[in-house]
Assembly symmetry: C2
């Protein structure tokens, strides 16, 4: 049997489209002087949760892009389970956000850039696909990696030039 290359390409194109939406969220964070990280959650072809990092604005260590998007998506669906959903996030989730994704039972996680310091979807730790936990997430790295990485390095360069 011959596989269908079109289907695979369509999946890739959709991943890029949704990662661009996550990048839009990251840009809002950038413009408000927050570390530019953005996330969206997709269910049945529709974005049902969006978030960008608001840690400094809200003075709250929980206000990461991923948690804000999860909160919105669960409210939209009216349940705590995000089964059959995919999160697109510009930077690999930290332990808190990776743990929140496990708790939400999300199916799939698509990541832009790796986080070499705090990344818990395979880089420093692997919370999203852990042998002993009761849920494992299908994880993909490297979608629009350069753009997701550049927005962060540009941000820190801008901050240094302002000081």
């Amino acid at each position: 049997m011959i596989g269908c290359p079109f289907k695979i390409q369509l999946g890739d194109i959709m991943d890029i489209i949704y990662m661009k939406e996550a990048l839009k969220e990251a840009s809002i964070a950038y413009s408000t002087y927050e570390v530019p990280i953005g996330a969206v959650i997709v269910y049945d072809g529709q974005i049902i949760g969006r978030g960008y990092n608001k840690k400094e604005k809200l003075k709250n260590p929980l206000a990461h892009a991923e948690l804000i998007a999860i909160d919105q998506a669960t409210k939209y669906l009216g349940q705590w389970r995000l089964t059959a959903c995919t999160m697109y996030v510009t930077l690999e989730p930290c332990a808190m956000c990776a743990g929140a994704l496990i708790n939400s039972r999300i199916d799939r996680l698509v990541i832009g850039a790796r986080d070499q310091r705090m990344g818990c979807a395979g880089t420093v730790e692997n919370i999203t696909c852990h042998d002993k936990f009761n849920h494992k997430i299908q994880v993909e790295h490297g979608v629009l990696e350069e753009e997701c990485s550049s927005i962060l390095s540009d941000f820190f360069k801008m901050l240094r030039s302002k000081r």
Copy 2:
């Protein structure tokens, strides 16, 4: 130089007093048919954050006792850092909550019962004191362990008897 045994005992007594407060929170969860887990955050001898598990009530996977208490404490202090604070929690935090504690830069974490399935303060994983992360928390296990463990086993026994 001879150490002061009174000081050590006073610390232990305070830990028990605050863990009893966390158990009060867990009892509220029990009475609302939520898995009974409770947490309090103490700063300068005062409880500045309290929380109990509300996952089912709020239909939200983020509504763990620890996150609710962190949210309250940061609002009280008007900053995202919980330096010089201690969290008392009846059950060992999961990855999400352990990660949130790291993100909040909390000093100390006192735990009642261990969580053999999802515990990320040394039992399944060690997020709270990880070699590579930028913050390490002083963790103590086993304060009022029997009470903290019993309230959970009683709850699940009650649920089974109702079915």
